[in-house]
Amino acid sequence: MDIDIRHIAKLSRLKIEDSELAGYEKEMSDIIAMVEAMPDISDELTVDPENAMKLRPDIIGETKITRDEILKNAPKIVAGCVVVPKTVD
Protein backbone atom coordinates (compact mmCIF):
# COMPACT_ATOMS: atom_id res chain seq x y z
CA MET A 1 0.00 0.00 0.00
CA ASP A 2 1.16 3.53 -0.80
CA ILE A 3 1.14 5.71 2.27
CA ASP A 4 1.18 9.48 1.90
CA ILE A 5 3.79 10.22 4.55
CA ARG A 6 3.55 13.99 4.04
CA HIS A 7 -0.19 13.94 4.72
CA ILE A 8 0.16 11.70 7.78
CA ALA A 9 3.02 13.88 9.07
CA LYS A 10 0.85 16.96 8.68
CA LEU A 11 -1.97 15.34 10.66
CA SER A 12 0.61 14.36 13.32
CA ARG A 13 2.06 17.89 13.45
CA LEU A 14 5.46 16.60 12.38
CA LYS A 15 7.83 17.91 9.74
CA ILE A 16 9.55 15.20 7.72
CA GLU A 17 12.61 16.21 5.69
CA ASP A 18 12.82 15.12 2.04
CA SER A 19 15.86 13.00 2.87
CA GLU A 20 13.82 11.02 5.45
CA LEU A 21 10.74 10.39 3.29
CA ALA A 22 11.87 7.21 1.52
CA GLY A 23 12.98 5.60 4.78
CA TYR A 24 9.67 6.29 6.55
CA GLU A 25 7.70 5.14 3.50
CA LYS A 26 9.53 1.80 3.43
CA GLU A 27 9.22 1.19 7.19
CA MET A 28 5.55 2.17 7.35
CA SER A 29 4.72 0.03 4.29
CA ASP A 30 6.47 -2.98 5.87
CA ILE A 31 4.52 -2.52 9.11
CA ILE A 32 1.20 -2.06 7.29
CA ALA A 33 1.90 -5.19 5.22
CA MET A 34 2.38 -7.10 8.48
CA VAL A 35 -0.81 -5.83 10.11
CA GLU A 36 -2.92 -6.38 6.99
CA ALA A 37 -2.66 -10.12 7.60
CA MET A 38 -5.07 -9.76 10.55
CA PRO A 39 -8.21 -11.87 10.09
CA ASP A 40 -11.69 -10.39 9.61
CA ILE A 41 -13.76 -11.03 12.71
CA SER A 42 -17.51 -10.61 12.60
CA ASP A 43 -18.13 -9.36 16.11
CA GLU A 44 -18.97 -6.09 17.82
CA LEU A 45 -16.88 -4.14 20.27
CA THR A 46 -18.29 -4.05 23.78
CA VAL A 47 -17.21 -2.43 27.03
CA ASP A 48 -15.36 -4.85 29.30
CA PRO A 49 -17.69 -5.25 32.33
CA GLU A 50 -14.72 -6.25 34.52
CA ASN A 51 -12.90 -3.06 33.67
CA ALA A 52 -15.59 -0.42 33.83
CA MET A 53 -13.90 2.84 34.67
CA LYS A 54 -15.28 4.95 37.47
CA LEU A 55 -15.04 8.66 36.83
CA ARG A 56 -14.20 10.98 39.68
CA PRO A 57 -16.86 13.51 40.68
CA ASP A 58 -16.35 16.76 38.80
CA ILE A 59 -15.29 18.84 41.77
CA ILE A 60 -12.13 20.80 42.34
CA GLY A 61 -9.78 18.87 44.62
CA GLU A 62 -7.22 20.32 46.98
CA THR A 63 -3.73 20.67 45.62
CA LYS A 64 -0.54 21.99 47.10
CA ILE A 65 0.90 22.72 43.68
CA THR A 66 1.16 26.46 43.00
CA ARG A 67 0.77 28.30 39.72
CA ASP A 68 4.40 29.43 39.91
CA GLU A 69 5.61 25.84 40.30
CA ILE A 70 3.65 24.70 37.27
CA LEU A 71 4.85 27.60 35.13
CA LYS A 72 8.48 26.79 35.94
CA ASN A 73 8.38 24.10 33.23
CA ALA A 74 6.86 26.36 30.56
CA PRO A 75 9.32 27.43 27.84
CA LYS A 76 8.06 31.03 27.79
CA ILE A 77 5.90 32.91 30.28
CA VAL A 78 4.78 36.51 30.60
CA ALA A 79 2.81 37.87 33.54
CA GLY A 80 1.89 34.43 34.85
CA CYS A 81 0.71 33.07 31.49
CA VAL A 82 2.29 30.73 28.94
CA VAL A 83 3.14 32.42 25.66
CA VAL A 84 2.25 31.09 22.21
CA PRO A 85 2.99 32.65 18.81
CA LYS A 86 0.45 35.15 17.53
CA THR A 87 -2.54 33.30 16.04
CA VAL A 88 -4.82 36.20 15.02
CA ASP A 89 -3.64 39.31 13.18
Binding site: L14, I32, M38, P39, L45, N73, A74, P75, K86
Partner: protein, 485 residues
Amino acid sequence: MKLYEYSACELSEMLRAKKISSRELTESVLDRAGEVDKKVNAYLRTDREMSLRMADRADKLIASGEAKSRLAGIPVGIKDNISTKGIATTCASRMLENYVPVFNATVIEKLESAGCVISGKLNLDEFAMGSSTENSYFVTTKNPYDLSCVPGGSSGGSAAAVACGEAVVALGSDTGGSIRQPASLCGVVGLKPTYGSVSRYGLVAFASSLDQIGPFGCTVKDVALLQDEIQGHDKMDATSADRKYASLLDNLNDNISGLKIGIPSEYFGEGIKPEVADAVMKSVKELEKRGAKVVPVSLPSTGYALSAYYIIACAEASSNLARFDGVKYGYHAQNCDGLIDMYEKTRSEGFGREVKRRIMLGTFVLSSGYFDAYYKKAKLLQKRIQQEFADAFNSVDAIITPTSPSEAFKIGERTSDPLAMYAADICTVTVNIAGLPGVSVPCGYSEIGLPYGMQIIGRKFDEQTILNLAYAHENAFGGFRRPEL
Protein backbone atom coordinates in the same frame (compact mmCIF):
# COMPACT_ATOMS: atom_id res chain seq x y z
CA MET B 1 30.24 -9.90 50.65
CA LYS B 2 29.45 -6.26 49.97
CA LEU B 3 26.05 -4.84 50.93
CA TYR B 4 24.84 -4.28 47.35
CA GLU B 5 25.20 -8.04 46.76
CA TYR B 6 22.47 -9.04 49.22
CA SER B 7 18.83 -9.43 48.24
CA ALA B 8 16.27 -6.82 49.30
CA CYS B 9 14.64 -9.29 51.71
CA GLU B 10 17.99 -10.07 53.38
CA LEU B 11 18.83 -6.36 53.60
CA SER B 12 15.40 -5.61 55.04
CA GLU B 13 16.08 -7.99 57.92
CA MET B 14 19.60 -6.62 58.44
CA LEU B 15 18.23 -3.07 58.56
CA ARG B 16 15.48 -3.91 61.00
CA ALA B 17 17.89 -5.86 63.21
CA LYS B 18 20.07 -2.69 63.09
CA LYS B 19 23.05 -4.69 61.82
CA ILE B 20 23.44 -2.14 59.02
CA SER B 21 22.20 1.37 58.33
CA SER B 22 20.39 2.58 55.25
CA ARG B 23 23.20 5.12 54.79
CA GLU B 24 25.81 2.33 54.62
CA LEU B 25 23.65 0.37 52.20
CA THR B 26 22.90 3.40 49.99
CA GLU B 27 26.60 4.28 49.91
CA SER B 28 27.43 0.72 48.88
CA VAL B 29 24.86 0.78 46.05
CA LEU B 30 25.91 4.22 44.80
CA ASP B 31 29.61 3.30 45.02
CA ARG B 32 28.82 0.22 42.94
CA ALA B 33 27.04 2.44 40.40
CA GLY B 34 30.06 4.75 40.38
CA GLU B 35 32.28 1.76 39.70
CA VAL B 36 30.34 -0.02 36.93
CA ASP B 37 27.93 2.45 35.36
CA LYS B 38 30.64 3.89 33.11
CA LYS B 39 30.48 0.53 31.34
CA VAL B 40 26.75 -0.25 31.62
CA ASN B 41 25.00 3.17 31.37
CA ALA B 42 21.97 2.05 33.36
CA TYR B 43 21.38 5.40 35.08
CA LEU B 44 20.46 8.66 33.44
CA ARG B 45 21.12 10.46 36.71
CA THR B 46 21.87 9.89 40.36
CA ASP B 47 21.95 12.45 43.17
CA ARG B 48 24.08 11.16 46.02
CA GLU B 49 23.15 13.95 48.39
CA MET B 50 19.42 13.42 47.88
CA SER B 51 19.70 9.63 48.21
CA LEU B 52 21.72 9.92 51.41
CA ARG B 53 19.20 12.39 52.83
CA MET B 54 16.48 9.81 52.19
CA ALA B 55 18.68 7.11 53.76
CA ASP B 56 19.20 9.20 56.91
CA ARG B 57 15.45 9.72 57.15
CA ALA B 58 14.93 5.95 56.82
CA ASP B 59 17.53 5.30 59.53
CA LYS B 60 15.66 7.64 61.88
CA LEU B 61 12.34 5.90 61.12
CA ILE B 62 13.88 2.49 61.77
CA ALA B 63 15.63 3.65 64.96
CA SER B 64 12.42 5.12 66.38
CA GLY B 65 10.38 2.03 65.46
CA GLU B 66 8.16 4.10 63.15
CA ALA B 67 9.15 2.24 59.98
CA LYS B 68 6.12 0.15 59.09
CA SER B 69 7.30 -1.13 55.71
CA ARG B 70 9.78 -3.91 55.07
CA LEU B 71 11.14 -1.77 52.26
CA ALA B 72 12.22 1.03 54.62
CA GLY B 73 15.81 2.00 53.93
CA ILE B 74 16.11 -0.03 50.69
CA PRO B 75 17.43 1.82 47.62
CA VAL B 76 15.08 1.54 44.64
CA GLY B 77 15.97 2.59 41.07
CA ILE B 78 13.21 4.32 39.11
CA LYS B 79 12.61 4.16 35.36
CA ASP B 80 12.78 7.70 34.04
CA ASN B 81 9.19 7.78 32.76
CA ILE B 82 7.84 7.72 36.33
CA SER B 83 7.29 11.22 37.73
CA THR B 84 9.48 12.19 40.66
CA LYS B 85 8.80 15.56 42.26
CA GLY B 86 11.80 17.87 41.98
CA ILE B 87 13.84 15.25 40.09
CA ALA B 88 14.07 15.52 36.29
CA THR B 89 11.90 12.95 34.49
CA THR B 90 12.99 12.87 30.87
CA CYS B 91 11.48 9.69 29.36
CA ALA B 92 14.94 9.51 27.70
CA SER B 93 13.69 12.13 25.24
CA ARG B 94 15.05 15.46 24.09
CA MET B 95 11.43 16.61 24.43
CA LEU B 96 11.62 16.36 28.24
CA GLU B 97 15.36 16.91 28.73
CA ASN B 98 14.78 19.75 31.21
CA TYR B 99 11.38 18.74 32.60
CA VAL B 100 11.11 18.57 36.39
CA PRO B 101 7.73 17.26 37.66
CA VAL B 102 5.91 19.21 40.35
CA PHE B 103 4.24 16.05 41.65
CA ASN B 104 5.11 12.45 42.48
CA ALA B 105 3.61 9.42 40.75
CA THR B 106 1.44 7.44 43.18
CA VAL B 107 4.05 4.65 43.26
CA ILE B 108 6.71 7.20 44.31
CA GLU B 109 4.43 8.58 47.04
CA LYS B 110 4.01 5.00 48.29
CA LEU B 111 7.75 4.31 48.23
CA GLU B 112 8.52 7.58 50.03
CA SER B 113 5.90 6.85 52.69
CA ALA B 114 7.47 3.42 53.13
CA GLY B 115 10.84 5.08 53.81
CA CYS B 116 12.55 3.88 50.62
CA VAL B 117 15.59 5.54 49.13
CA ILE B 118 15.53 6.57 45.47
CA SER B 119 18.90 5.54 44.07
CA GLY B 120 18.39 7.39 40.77
CA LYS B 121 16.54 7.54 37.45
CA LEU B 122 17.10 4.74 34.97
CA ASN B 123 17.49 4.71 31.20
CA LEU B 124 14.81 3.51 28.76
CA ASP B 125 13.85 3.65 25.13
CA GLU B 126 12.43 7.10 24.41
CA PHE B 127 8.88 7.26 25.87
CA ALA B 128 9.21 3.48 26.51
CA MET B 129 9.04 2.76 22.77
CA GLY B 130 11.53 0.05 21.95
CA SER B 131 12.94 -3.32 22.90
CA SER B 132 16.64 -2.55 23.29
CA THR B 133 17.14 0.83 25.07
CA GLU B 134 18.89 1.98 21.89
CA ASN B 135 16.12 4.54 21.31
CA SER B 136 17.20 6.60 24.33
CA TYR B 137 18.11 10.14 23.27
CA PHE B 138 20.93 10.19 25.83
CA VAL B 139 22.77 6.87 25.94
CA THR B 140 22.49 3.16 25.10
CA THR B 141 22.45 0.85 28.11
CA LYS B 142 24.65 -2.26 27.76
CA ASN B 143 23.88 -5.81 28.75
CA PRO B 144 25.94 -6.59 31.89
CA TYR B 145 26.55 -10.18 30.71
CA ASP B 146 28.05 -8.99 27.42
CA LEU B 147 28.67 -5.28 26.94
CA SER B 148 28.37 -5.58 23.16
CA CYS B 149 24.72 -6.70 23.52
CA VAL B 150 21.52 -4.84 24.36
CA PRO B 151 19.89 -5.21 27.80
CA GLY B 152 16.43 -5.38 26.20
CA GLY B 153 13.84 -2.70 26.60
CA SER B 154 12.20 -0.51 27.13
CA SER B 155 13.10 -0.81 30.86
CA GLY B 156 16.70 -1.78 29.98
CA GLY B 157 18.20 0.56 32.59
CA SER B 158 16.09 -0.97 35.38
CA ALA B 159 16.99 -4.56 34.43
CA ALA B 160 20.71 -3.84 33.98
CA ALA B 161 20.95 -1.84 37.23
CA VAL B 162 19.42 -4.66 39.29
CA ALA B 163 21.61 -7.28 37.59
CA CYS B 164 24.76 -5.29 38.40
CA GLY B 165 23.87 -4.35 41.98
CA GLU B 166 23.52 -0.68 41.05
CA ALA B 167 20.01 -0.83 42.55
CA VAL B 168 18.70 -3.39 45.02
CA VAL B 169 15.31 -3.44 43.26
CA ALA B 170 13.82 -1.20 40.57
CA LEU B 171 10.60 -0.03 39.02
CA GLY B 172 9.89 -0.32 35.32
CA SER B 173 6.85 -0.10 33.09
CA ASP B 174 5.50 -2.67 30.66
CA THR B 175 3.28 -1.89 27.66
CA GLY B 176 4.16 -4.86 25.43
CA GLY B 177 6.94 -6.63 27.34
CA SER B 178 9.05 -3.73 28.59
CA ILE B 179 9.60 -5.27 32.04
CA ARG B 180 9.66 -8.98 31.19
CA GLN B 181 11.85 -8.87 28.06
CA PRO B 182 14.72 -6.86 29.64
CA ALA B 183 14.40 -8.99 32.80
CA SER B 184 14.88 -12.03 30.57
CA LEU B 185 17.86 -10.57 28.69
CA CYS B 186 19.55 -9.43 31.94
CA GLY B 187 18.86 -12.62 33.92
CA VAL B 188 16.71 -11.01 36.64
CA VAL B 189 13.10 -11.39 37.78
CA GLY B 190 10.55 -8.93 36.37
CA LEU B 191 6.80 -8.81 37.01
CA LYS B 192 4.19 -7.18 34.80
CA PRO B 193 1.22 -6.98 37.17
CA THR B 194 -2.44 -7.29 36.16
CA TYR B 195 -3.71 -4.16 34.41
CA GLY B 196 -5.31 -1.98 37.08
CA SER B 197 -3.44 -3.38 40.08
CA VAL B 198 -0.77 -0.65 40.21
CA SER B 199 -1.72 3.00 39.79
CA ARG B 200 -0.53 4.61 36.56
CA TYR B 201 -0.91 8.12 38.00
CA GLY B 202 2.36 9.89 37.22
CA LEU B 203 3.56 7.31 34.69
CA VAL B 204 4.11 9.26 31.48
CA ALA B 205 1.52 7.68 29.19
CA PHE B 206 2.52 5.69 26.11
CA ALA B 207 -0.53 3.42 25.52
CA SER B 208 -2.83 3.95 28.49
CA SER B 209 -4.92 0.78 28.07
CA LEU B 210 -1.78 -1.41 28.09
CA ASP B 211 0.76 0.42 30.30
CA GLN B 212 1.50 -1.01 33.73
CA ILE B 213 4.20 -0.22 36.32
CA GLY B 214 5.92 -3.22 37.90
CA PRO B 215 8.95 -4.41 39.91
CA PHE B 216 12.39 -5.86 39.08
CA GLY B 217 14.50 -7.83 41.56
CA CYS B 218 17.22 -10.46 41.71
CA THR B 219 14.86 -12.88 43.44
CA VAL B 220 11.16 -13.73 43.34
CA LYS B 221 10.84 -12.69 46.98
CA ASP B 222 12.27 -9.25 46.22
CA VAL B 223 9.77 -8.76 43.41
CA ALA B 224 6.92 -9.80 45.74
CA LEU B 225 8.23 -7.37 48.39
CA LEU B 226 8.21 -4.41 45.99
CA GLN B 227 4.88 -5.35 44.38
CA ASP B 228 3.29 -5.52 47.86
CA GLU B 229 4.31 -1.91 48.37
CA ILE B 230 3.09 -0.46 45.07
CA GLN B 231 -0.15 -2.39 44.39
CA GLY B 232 -3.55 -1.09 45.43
CA HIS B 233 -6.43 1.11 44.39
CA ASP B 234 -5.82 4.78 43.66
CA LYS B 235 -8.55 7.30 43.03
CA MET B 236 -6.16 9.30 40.85
CA ASP B 237 -6.22 6.54 38.19
CA ALA B 238 -9.65 5.86 36.71
CA THR B 239 -8.52 2.41 35.55
CA SER B 240 -7.21 1.38 38.96
CA ALA B 241 -9.01 -1.72 40.32
CA ASP B 242 -10.80 -1.20 43.63
CA ARG B 243 -10.32 -4.53 45.42
CA LYS B 244 -8.45 -6.12 48.31
CA TYR B 245 -4.79 -6.89 47.67
CA ALA B 246 -3.24 -9.52 49.93
CA SER B 247 0.52 -9.60 50.63
CA LEU B 248 2.25 -11.64 47.93
CA LEU B 249 5.39 -12.05 50.01
CA ASP B 250 3.59 -13.35 53.10
CA ASN B 251 1.69 -15.88 50.99
CA LEU B 252 4.63 -16.99 48.86
CA ASN B 253 4.70 -20.77 48.83
CA ASP B 254 6.85 -23.12 46.77
CA ASN B 255 4.49 -26.06 47.17
CA ILE B 256 3.11 -26.29 43.65
CA SER B 257 1.79 -29.81 43.89
CA GLY B 258 -1.35 -30.21 41.79
CA LEU B 259 -1.05 -26.88 39.95
CA LYS B 260 -1.83 -27.20 36.26
CA ILE B 261 0.56 -25.54 33.82
CA GLY B 262 -0.58 -24.88 30.26
CA ILE B 263 1.96 -25.10 27.44
CA PRO B 264 0.77 -23.33 24.27
CA SER B 265 2.47 -24.82 21.20
CA GLU B 266 2.12 -21.46 19.40
CA TYR B 267 4.90 -20.04 21.62
CA PHE B 268 7.42 -22.80 20.95
CA GLY B 269 7.53 -22.94 17.14
CA GLU B 270 8.53 -20.61 14.34
CA GLY B 271 10.47 -17.53 15.38
CA ILE B 272 11.58 -19.00 18.71
CA LYS B 273 15.20 -20.06 18.97
CA PRO B 274 15.28 -23.84 19.72
CA GLU B 275 17.82 -23.35 22.54
CA VAL B 276 15.40 -20.96 24.30
CA ALA B 277 12.45 -23.33 23.86
CA ASP B 278 14.60 -26.21 25.20
CA ALA B 279 15.68 -24.22 28.26
CA VAL B 280 12.06 -23.33 29.07
CA MET B 281 10.88 -26.93 28.65
CA LYS B 282 13.73 -28.13 30.88
CA SER B 283 12.42 -25.78 33.57
CA VAL B 284 8.88 -27.00 33.03
CA LYS B 285 10.15 -30.55 33.64
CA GLU B 286 11.62 -29.37 36.97
CA LEU B 287 8.22 -27.98 37.96
CA GLU B 288 6.61 -31.25 36.92
CA LYS B 289 9.03 -33.12 39.20
CA ARG B 290 7.80 -30.90 42.03
CA GLY B 291 4.21 -31.94 41.49
CA ALA B 292 2.84 -29.59 38.83
CA LYS B 293 0.81 -31.11 36.00
CA VAL B 294 1.59 -30.10 32.42
CA VAL B 295 -1.33 -29.68 30.03
CA PRO B 296 -1.19 -28.63 26.36
CA VAL B 297 -3.32 -25.55 25.61
CA SER B 298 -4.06 -23.63 22.44
CA LEU B 299 -3.93 -19.87 21.86
CA PRO B 300 -4.59 -19.85 18.10
CA SER B 301 -4.60 -16.07 17.52
CA THR B 302 -1.07 -15.59 18.91
CA GLY B 303 0.39 -15.11 15.42
CA TYR B 304 -1.68 -11.95 14.92
CA ALA B 305 -1.07 -10.48 18.36
CA LEU B 306 1.94 -8.39 17.34
CA SER B 307 -0.13 -6.68 14.63
CA ALA B 308 -3.01 -5.94 16.98
CA TYR B 309 -0.57 -4.70 19.59
CA TYR B 310 1.23 -2.23 17.33
CA ILE B 311 -2.05 -0.81 16.04
CA ILE B 312 -3.60 -0.31 19.49
CA ALA B 313 -0.39 0.91 21.13
CA CYS B 314 0.49 3.36 18.34
CA ALA B 315 -3.08 4.67 18.09
CA GLU B 316 -3.04 5.47 21.80
CA ALA B 317 0.49 6.88 21.58
CA SER B 318 -0.44 9.26 18.77
CA SER B 319 -3.16 10.67 20.99
CA ASN B 320 -1.16 10.67 24.25
CA LEU B 321 1.88 12.35 22.73
CA ALA B 322 -0.22 15.14 21.18
CA ARG B 323 0.27 16.97 24.49
CA PHE B 324 3.91 17.70 23.66
CA ASP B 325 3.42 20.93 21.78
CA GLY B 326 6.19 23.21 23.06
CA VAL B 327 3.78 25.43 24.98
CA LYS B 328 3.20 24.20 28.53
CA TYR B 329 6.38 22.24 29.22
CA GLY B 330 9.14 20.41 27.41
CA TYR B 331 11.27 21.26 24.41
CA HIS B 332 10.44 24.44 22.48
CA ALA B 333 11.85 25.06 18.98
CA GLN B 334 13.34 28.46 18.16
CA ASN B 335 12.79 30.77 15.16
CA CYS B 336 9.30 29.58 14.29
CA ASP B 337 6.94 31.11 11.78
CA GLY B 338 3.59 31.02 13.57
CA LEU B 339 1.81 28.50 15.78
CA ILE B 340 1.61 25.51 13.42
CA ASP B 341 5.26 25.88 12.45
CA MET B 342 6.14 25.98 16.16
CA TYR B 343 4.21 22.76 16.82
CA GLU B 344 5.80 20.99 13.87
CA LYS B 345 9.36 22.15 14.55
CA THR B 346 9.09 21.44 18.28
CA ARG B 347 7.78 17.92 17.76
CA SER B 348 10.15 17.09 14.90
CA GLU B 349 13.22 18.26 16.80
CA GLY B 350 12.04 16.99 20.21
CA PHE B 351 11.03 13.43 19.28
CA GLY B 352 13.34 10.70 18.00
CA ARG B 353 12.77 8.62 14.90
CA GLU B 354 11.03 5.61 16.51
CA VAL B 355 8.61 7.86 18.39
CA LYS B 356 7.81 9.83 15.24
CA ARG B 357 7.16 6.63 13.29
CA ARG B 358 4.82 5.30 15.96
CA ILE B 359 2.94 8.61 16.16
CA MET B 360 2.50 8.53 12.38
CA LEU B 361 1.45 4.88 12.37
CA GLY B 362 -1.14 5.63 15.08
CA THR B 363 -2.38 8.69 13.21
CA PHE B 364 -2.66 6.62 10.04
CA VAL B 365 -4.71 3.78 11.57
CA LEU B 366 -7.07 6.27 13.21
CA SER B 367 -7.44 8.45 10.12
CA SER B 368 -10.58 8.72 8.05
CA GLY B 369 -11.19 5.64 5.89
CA TYR B 370 -8.72 3.41 7.75
CA PHE B 371 -10.26 3.17 11.23
CA ASP B 372 -12.40 0.08 10.51
CA ALA B 373 -9.70 -1.65 8.48
CA TYR B 374 -7.05 -1.37 11.17
CA TYR B 375 -8.05 -0.06 14.59
CA LYS B 376 -11.45 -1.77 14.84
CA LYS B 377 -9.99 -5.01 13.49
CA ALA B 378 -7.21 -4.87 16.08
CA LYS B 379 -9.67 -4.24 18.92
CA LEU B 380 -11.78 -7.21 17.81
CA LEU B 381 -8.68 -9.33 17.70
CA GLN B 382 -7.87 -8.14 21.22
CA LYS B 383 -11.29 -9.38 22.36
CA ARG B 384 -10.64 -12.75 20.73
CA ILE B 385 -7.19 -13.08 22.33
CA GLN B 386 -8.71 -12.26 25.74
CA GLN B 387 -11.32 -14.97 25.18
CA GLU B 388 -8.71 -17.54 24.16
CA PHE B 389 -6.79 -16.89 27.38
CA ALA B 390 -9.99 -17.09 29.42
CA ASP B 391 -10.81 -20.45 27.80
CA ALA B 392 -7.30 -21.75 28.50
CA PHE B 393 -7.53 -20.66 32.14
CA ASN B 394 -10.66 -22.81 32.52
CA SER B 395 -8.38 -25.83 32.45
CA VAL B 396 -5.02 -24.54 33.78
CA ASP B 397 -3.73 -22.35 36.64
CA ALA B 398 -0.86 -20.76 34.72
CA ILE B 399 0.64 -20.71 31.23
CA ILE B 400 4.36 -20.98 30.56
CA THR B 401 6.18 -19.64 27.48
CA PRO B 402 9.61 -18.25 26.64
CA THR B 403 9.82 -14.53 27.55
CA SER B 404 11.93 -13.53 24.57
CA PRO B 405 12.41 -15.55 21.38
CA SER B 406 16.20 -15.29 21.75
CA GLU B 407 18.90 -14.25 24.19
CA ALA B 408 20.25 -10.66 24.04
CA PHE B 409 21.17 -9.51 20.54
CA LYS B 410 24.06 -7.25 19.49
CA ILE B 411 23.82 -3.47 19.81
CA GLY B 412 22.97 -2.04 16.38
CA GLU B 413 21.88 -5.37 14.93
CA ARG B 414 18.18 -4.49 14.59
CA THR B 415 18.08 -0.69 14.62
CA SER B 416 17.43 -0.34 10.89
CA ASP B 417 14.74 -3.03 10.73
CA PRO B 418 11.66 -2.19 12.85
CA LEU B 419 9.97 -5.52 12.18
CA ALA B 420 13.00 -7.47 13.43
CA MET B 421 13.00 -5.27 16.55
CA TYR B 422 9.24 -5.69 17.08
CA ALA B 423 9.66 -9.49 16.88
CA ALA B 424 11.50 -9.31 20.24
CA ASP B 425 8.06 -8.78 21.84
CA ILE B 426 6.32 -11.68 20.15
CA CYS B 427 5.89 -13.70 23.39
CA THR B 428 5.00 -10.80 25.67
CA VAL B 429 2.48 -8.53 23.89
CA THR B 430 -0.47 -10.94 24.28
CA VAL B 431 -0.26 -10.58 28.06
CA ASN B 432 -0.75 -6.79 27.83
CA ILE B 433 -3.49 -7.18 25.23
CA ALA B 434 -5.32 -9.51 27.61
CA GLY B 435 -4.54 -7.41 30.74
CA LEU B 436 -3.02 -10.41 32.56
CA PRO B 437 -0.10 -10.69 34.99
CA GLY B 438 3.16 -12.20 33.73
CA VAL B 439 6.54 -12.77 35.37
CA SER B 440 9.88 -13.50 33.73
CA VAL B 441 12.43 -15.63 35.59
CA PRO B 442 15.94 -16.65 34.53
CA CYS B 443 15.94 -20.23 33.24
CA GLY B 444 19.38 -20.96 31.84
CA TYR B 445 22.26 -19.47 29.88
CA SER B 446 23.54 -19.63 26.32
CA GLU B 447 26.95 -21.10 25.47
CA ILE B 448 28.54 -17.67 25.93
CA GLY B 449 26.68 -17.03 29.16
CA LEU B 450 23.73 -14.87 28.05
CA PRO B 451 20.59 -15.47 30.13
CA TYR B 452 17.37 -17.07 28.88
CA GLY B 453 14.02 -16.18 30.43
CA MET B 454 10.82 -18.08 31.11
CA GLN B 455 7.47 -16.29 31.24
CA ILE B 456 4.73 -17.46 33.61
CA ILE B 457 1.31 -15.98 32.82
CA GLY B 458 -1.62 -16.02 35.25
CA ARG B 459 -5.28 -15.22 35.59
CA LYS B 460 -6.24 -11.61 36.22
CA PHE B 461 -5.20 -10.57 39.76
CA ASP B 462 -3.65 -13.98 40.43
CA GLU B 463 -0.06 -12.77 40.82
CA GLN B 464 0.22 -15.17 43.75
CA THR B 465 0.06 -18.36 41.66
CA ILE B 466 2.62 -17.21 39.11
CA LEU B 467 4.99 -15.98 41.83
CA ASN B 468 4.59 -19.29 43.69
CA LEU B 469 5.57 -21.14 40.51
CA ALA B 470 8.45 -18.71 39.96
CA TYR B 471 9.58 -19.26 43.57
CA ALA B 472 9.42 -23.05 43.23
CA HIS B 473 11.40 -22.79 39.99
CA GLU B 474 14.00 -20.55 41.63
CA ASN B 475 14.42 -22.99 44.51
CA ALA B 476 14.78 -25.92 42.10
CA PHE B 477 16.88 -24.16 39.50
CA GLY B 478 19.08 -21.72 41.38
CA GLY B 479 17.79 -18.46 39.88
CA PHE B 480 19.84 -15.30 39.44
CA ARG B 481 23.63 -15.31 38.96
CA ARG B 482 25.45 -11.98 39.28
CA PRO B 483 27.32 -11.06 36.05
CA GLU B 484 31.06 -10.43 36.25
CA LEU B 485 32.00 -6.94 35.15
